[in-house]
Every structure is written in C-alpha cells, then in structure tokens.
C-alpha cells in the first residue's frame, strides 16, 4: 500500500501528465524525456497508474532515433544521455525488442569527446588538457562534450541491468571503464563533483546529488568512505533534488536515508517523480543493479 508521501506524489504526477503521455519539467510545459522517464519509473507497478505508464512509454518509444539513441524532447533531433534512461526503462518494462537492442548499441559506441582520436593526439602533443585522466571511457551529456559523472552513472546503471539479458565482453569492458572513470574523478573529500576533482590544481568540493549518482553507478562495490561522505553531505545543501537522489542511492546499497521530503509537492515535476521513487515503498529498487541487500534502519 502507498505510504502517504508516495500516494500524494503519484496522484500529483497522474494529474499533471501531458496529453501526449509525457511530463514537462513543470506543469503545463512541453514533455521532456527525463521527467517522463522518472515519472514512469515512479508509477510503474501501481495499478491506478497503469494507463499513465502505458501512455508514457508509447511516447518515449516514439522518440527513439534511427541511430538507436533517444532524443530529449519531441523537436530535438539529437540522441543524448537520456538513452541510458531509455535502456533502463526497457529493462524495467521488459521490452527486450529492437528499441532495447538499438539503444544498448548506442550506449556501447558513445563516449566523451576526450576519448576521440583527435583529442588524444592533441593531448599527447600538449595542445589539450582536460585536467584529469582521459584513460577510461565514460559518457557525455551529448555529442561534442566530455564525459561527466551524471551521464556516466546513468549509463552504468543501464548497462548493468542490460547485461543480465545481453552479457558479453563489450558490455563488460564499458562497465569496467565507466567504473574506473568514476573512481578516477572522485573528489579528494571522498564524494564527487560534476566531472573533475580539481580545476587548475585547486580541489573542488563534492556535491550530494553527484555523489549519490556516482554511488548508484558503483553500487556493487561502493568505494571505502563514499557512503559516509554522502551521509555527511545529506541536508548540507537545501536541495530536494539532492535529498531524493541520496535516498534512492542509499536504497540501492541497502541503506536508509535520513532525508524526508515535505508533504507539499514541489512545482518541479522531475523532483516530484524522484521523491516518489525515494519514498518508503517507492520504486528506488528499480535502480538496483545487484541482488537486494536487507535494508538497514538508521
């Protein structure tokens, strides 16, 4: 049965679904892949929401491009990082047909611009410097940009879930490199900033949301001290987004977050969906990529 917060958020999401089946970042705005994917995951398995989930998937499925990637919104004809969410959705909805395979292939061949031959040549000639190791391949937000923590973490979740159905060397290699990249860019304080641990030699602090996402990507073997760092970051930034990701991430590693969202739903529908996922009884476990551990109560 829904807990009060979960029920409230799910009702809120159903009420604000766009006519095309998607959700905007805010009520009444155009549908985007990202909030639609999170809302679909948040409503998945809820009897009252079956129609909403089916409508959302119809829309998202129609947004897959010929190259196998997914576009972020109806009128943007470029495949982006949201493809990771698309592949994760396929595994949750058990849609293992062509959309799944072509999305998976897109993820396997997509890398940050720092992995391109031209960048590597310029880097070796001393003409380019990303300020961090470029040895391992991760995932960018979109074409023509470097790998960053958030798209890499989502891609790792997608590949690990996909690997259950499509095991193989190529997928294992990308998972391994993606994990190594996240480990490489870990901030000195034990968490994660958005991409690099330092700029021009000056250390950057970690953030709760990116630390939570990195942990989600690395959940099978959480680096020593990372969970403790996330616990210290929790509530440090007054951010509902950060709180929701921290709860989801902790759930994935069998921990319980101390964050509790306010009763009132946020205007931001993406955060509303993440709070539904993070709520007690919610679907945070859909991001789990390993057998569930018993949750510990803090």
């Amino acid at each position: 049965m829904d807990t009060p917060i979960l029920g409230l958020r799910r009702e809120h999401l159903r009420r604000l679904q766009n006519a095309d089946g998607g959700w905007g970042y805010f009520a009444g705005k155009q549908s985007w892949f990202e909030p639609t994917a999170y809302a679909t995951l948040a409503l998945y398995g809820d009897k009252e929401s079956a129609g909403a989930v089916a409508g959302a998937w119809r829309l998202l499925r129609s947004w897959q491009l010929a190259d196998g990637g997914w576009k972020p919104a109806a009128h943007i004809e470029n495949s982006t990082w949201v493809t990771a969410l698309g592949v994760t959705l396929c595994t949750v909805l058990e849609e293992y047909g062509r959309p799944f395979d072509s999305g998976l292939r897109w993820l396997l061949r997509t890398t940050g611009a720092e992995s391109s031959l031209s960048f590597r040549v310029r880097e070796m000639a001393g003409l380019a410097d990303l300020g961090r190791s470029t040895k391992f391949r991760g995932w960018p937000w979109g074409g023509g940009a470097a790998s960053w923590v958030e798209p890499t973490a989502h891609s790792l979740v997608a590949l690990k879930k996909a690997a259950v159905r499509r095991p193989g060397g190529e997928i294992r290699t990308r998972i391994d490199e993606g994990e190594r990249l996240l480990t490489t860019v870990r901030a000195r304080d034990g968490g994660w900033n958005y991409g690099s641990p330092s700029v021009l030699g000056i250390e950057l602090p970690s953030y709760p949301e990116t630390t939570a996402l990195a942990l989600l990507g690395l959940q099978e073997h959480t680096p020593v001290g990372a969970l403790e760092r996330l616990r210290r970051l929790e509530g440090g930034a007054p951010s509902r987004l950060a709180d929701a990701w921290a709860s989801i991430s902790m759930s994935a590693v069998g921990e319980v977050s101390g964050c509790r969202p306010p009763r009132a739903a946020p205007a931001d529908l993406m955060i509303a969906a993440l709070e539904a996922l993070a709520a007690p009884g919610g679907n945070a476990g859909l991001f789990r990529t390993h057998p569930a551990k018993a949750e510990r109560t803090t």
Partner: protein, 327 residues
Amino acid sequence: MSSDVTRRMVLPVSAAAMLAGYAGITGKGTSDSKARWVAPQARSHVAIVRAESYSGDLAMRIREGIRECGLQVRGKTILLKPNLVEFDSSTAINTDVALVAAALDVFRSLGAADVRIGEGPGHRRDTYDLAEQAGYRGGIARFDDLFTDLNRDDVSEMHGFADEPSMFFPNTALKADLIVSLPKMKTHHWAGATLSMKNLFGLVPGSVYGWPKNKLHWIGIDRSIFELNRNFRRTFAIVDGVIGMEGNGPIQGTPKKCGALVMGPDLAAVDATCCRIMGIDPEKLEYLRMAAAIGNVAESRIEQRGEKISAVRTNFELSPNFKKVRL
C-alpha cells in the same frame, strides 16, 4: 504538449526573434550571419554609478544609469538575467537579491509591459532551491510566478551559432524584447573575468546540453561568449559591482568591495569598463578581443557617464593564469 502545439509556438517565436534582432534564429548559416556583425558606429554610453551597499537606494541608482544611457523600455517584455551559481550564501557568488528586486521595480515603473526573471545555472540543477538559498524567494514578491528556470524551459532551435548546425535556446529568452544581464563583477579562471557577456551562458539550456554546459567549453569559452552575444543583440547590462569576487572566481574566489554599478546597452563596452575598474586590460582578454566585432572595447570608443573609472577603480586579485592581463 503535442508536437502540433510546439510547431504553432515555434513559428511566432521565430518571427518575433527576427524582429527582435536575434541574428541566428532566421535559419541562415553562420556565413550569412557574419554579414550582420556590425560594431556600433557611434561611441557607446556606459554609466558608472556609486552604490556602496545593498541596503542603499539601489532603484534610484539604477534609474540614474538607465537615464544616462537613454534606455527606453515602455511596452517591452523584459527578462532579467541574474547570475545564480551556488548554494553558498556566505560569499559573493550570486547577484545580490537586492539588486534584482530593485531592477524589477525600476523596469516596471518605467512602463515595461512585462518583467520576468530567468536563469539557467551552470552546474547546480536544483534552480528553485538555489534561488531560495540566495534569498530570491524571500526577497522578491511572487518570485515563483515571475521566475523561469532557463535550463528547463520550452526551447526553440537557432541556426548560426559558431560552427554548430543548430543550437536550442529557451523560449523565454527568445521572446523577450530586452534581456537585462545582471551579473556579479567577478574574476574567472578560464575567461579572465565574468561579467555581462559571459552571464549569457545561463541562456543555454541544461536540459539539452547538460550540467555543466560542457559543449560551450568544447566550442571554446571565448568563442561561445562571443557567439551568444552576437546572437542575442537586444540587451542591456547592470553589473553588480557593489561587492564582487576576486582571485579564483567564479566560485572559489573571495569577496571584493568595489561599490559601483556599471550599466549600458553595449555589453562589450560595459565589460571593457568593468575590466578597467578591476585593473584588467580588456584588450588582453580573448573574448573582448572577439567582441570588438560587435561592440566597442577601446576606451576611445566609450563615452563614460556618471563616475569616472579612476574614482571607483580597485584592482581585483587575478587568477594566477591571468596575471599578465593586469592593466
């Protein structure tokens, strides 16, 4: 929203943008856009007004600057674009809420048809909580109704941005008759200084390009600053130099009191003036060298109004990699 509605929305946006002078939205390529790179024929007016603190009458100061620059806003839709970067409210990272609130009052009182506030922070995604922490929600009445998260607004396509086939920008910015850039006066470890021109990075939607907007770094930070300002031409700047940031800006630097607001319709001229106030040679910053194609950077091409530069000049500590640009 249906694709039908999207199409109906985009067409008037494109038309409005053409009328408003957005160079790239016409659907023409970069080479065609280059034909419209026109630096001002006349000297640019830049007003410097003293503002010793945020508790003073900032509205009066802004009015003074607007009057000096001859800006007319009656009947226009205006987008105020402050610089919201980080949750840390103990330092001078974000444009002070008092300045944004004062600008809102001034533009309304001058007869603007509509005044909105919009920002698309570069790396923190939770924009409303960021605004809360910066005091915007408490300090500006009905803030949530006035504010648009430009990272996650509805977007339309623009052609002619650098060498990209197209770029997407928020409709709130594309539809505005005037974008008022309200940056903090700060040093910047990649660009030397971050002022009214760099502040337009916040118009690039994270929903398409991510957090941070790393694509702009690969296009080139200086080039991207130039391209944004070449494409968004109906602009005015009010730079928050009451307390700026020196050293390792734009985030990890230290507060620096300057006690001035710098205003004008030519953002290149405003930034060049700010640099001279900060003790930076603007002609040694790459983005301002590029900006000379669309605005006035040379001191001889800028008509200073209000205070003289020498009256408010205070050398900002520079990032180590920009020591050579000291004026």
